[in-house]
Symmetry: C3
Subunit: 193 residues, 3 copies
């Protein structure tokens, strides 16, 4: 009975985390919270369904990067080639602490060669992109053998940013395209700290 209560407690805690968007961690890049994709490298168009473009040179499919994937292959935004980037305007300015890059789970994927591999994260404040104002927040490698949602800590800083660039310099083998399933940005609002 003690073990039963004990096991139940662990299960409930883990399911609660799972139900809380998988990580149970605030995501300043989630579309339903007001974040949006500002810009991206050339998309990889596979069908007419994905060929619509919306204002500001942002593809209508780009929002998928900021939405849950529900364990479904294809719930991603495909970019052309094995290098590229996406710029994300966060819900509000935050002191960023970590970034999560999610790909489709190995167990349901048709092919994972389109997963990003070596990545770089830049952040800045303000709508203007100015090379001198874009801070390097981290570099990381997405590992196909680990969990499908991988969280990377950013360099410690007290500088608030409201825009994040995820840049991928390689992928896991596909010469034609790279798929971004979801990007999340964790941190805290300076005025609330």
């Amino acid at each position: 009975d003690e073990i039963r209560a004990f096991a139940k407690e662990i299960v409930e805690k883990e399911i609660e985390k799972h139900a809380a968007d998988g990580l149970g961690r605030i995501d300043y890049a989630v579309a339903s919270g007001g974040a949006m994709v500002l810009k991206h490298s050339e998309p990889f168009i596979r069908s007419s369904k994905l060929s619509r473009w919306i204002a500001g040179n942002v593809h209508s499919g780009a929002v998928k990067i900021l939405q849950p994937s529900f364990g479904q292959p294809g719930e991603c935004f495909p970019l052309k080639g094995d290098t590229g980037f996406v710029d994300i305007k966060l819900r509000t300015a935050v002191i960023p602490e970590a970034i999560t890059l999610e790909h489709v789970s190995k167990s349901v994927a048709f092919d994972r060669s389109s997963a990003p591999k070596d990545c770089k994260v830049l952040g800045w404040l303000g709508s203007e992109e100015l090379t001198e104002k874009m801070n390097l927040l981290t570099e990381f490698t997405y590992d196909l053998e680990k969990s499908n949602a991988q969280t990377f800590n950013l360099v410690e800083s007290k500088t608030a940013v409201d825009t994040i660039r995820l840049e991928f310099m390689s992928n896991h083998g596909s010469p034609s395209h790279t798929c971004i399933y979801r990007v999340r940005v964790h941190g805290y609002e300076p005025n609330l700290a």
Copy 2:
């Protein structure tokens, strides 16, 4: 091995409940089952995206109250101020037993001051709202410290209702608006009992 089998059994049962819409309990207010929002107090319009209105003075965003939220902040219907109401036409007439009010989980919320606090539930049968026919089913307080989906038992009765009003008389601090993530109504169909 015994413990393993035992733990697995608990886990499977809890995940099954989680997969069954979180509670594993029939919801007569779910949109996919045919329920709908009939009426509501003034919405809190934040963007042009939410500014469309549909037939019968019901905002196009109101249906979110009757749909899953998937652990996503923003998957709610925002009403103006700290008092207000929503009227929900159930899928069919039922003897109501409980109501569940869900807000976004603490661990992924940007701000929970917009959560409803002191609430009242009324129920009646028939499309006409007549004060004398609207029965008080319960009063409750949504507690920010508890689980994000909170179920409250209704007063025992044998009276069937097909419309429910959730009225909030206060919220957790926001002067501008109150967000309703999801309302579920549990009970049984009189003819099936």
Copy 3:
């Protein structure tokens, strides 16, 4: 502490499987992977919302068969009567190994008499339906007492198919209609084996 670590390991594994589309198994019939419904028996139209038809005599609601149901009643495609079929074009040609038929979970269902019961699965290669090329892959009975997603192994074969027909010869009691929540097809791509 040993038990805690042990329980946590089991929980994480089970949640991972749950998060990976419930089964953690590749589905060649998933809509987001490019599969589609090619043809079906007469739909059971309940509302004007479902009355739109799209190209090729495929109802606009038919795609629900190839999408997640999220524990929501109604996230299905209803066909008229207690016999009928759906033809599914898979994402690509595969050696099929198993099929999963999912209905809504007992704990959240309003009525399960519309669940399919005795079923037959046929498979063939090529867009042409030719009786002599349609192989019987299995016959099974969907059991209302078991888990809501039931997987059935197919007869072993080395023949690739790119189209699957799920035919139901009876349901669990509804004279008016039969609801298909989701069909998944598991197997492997011949060129990848």
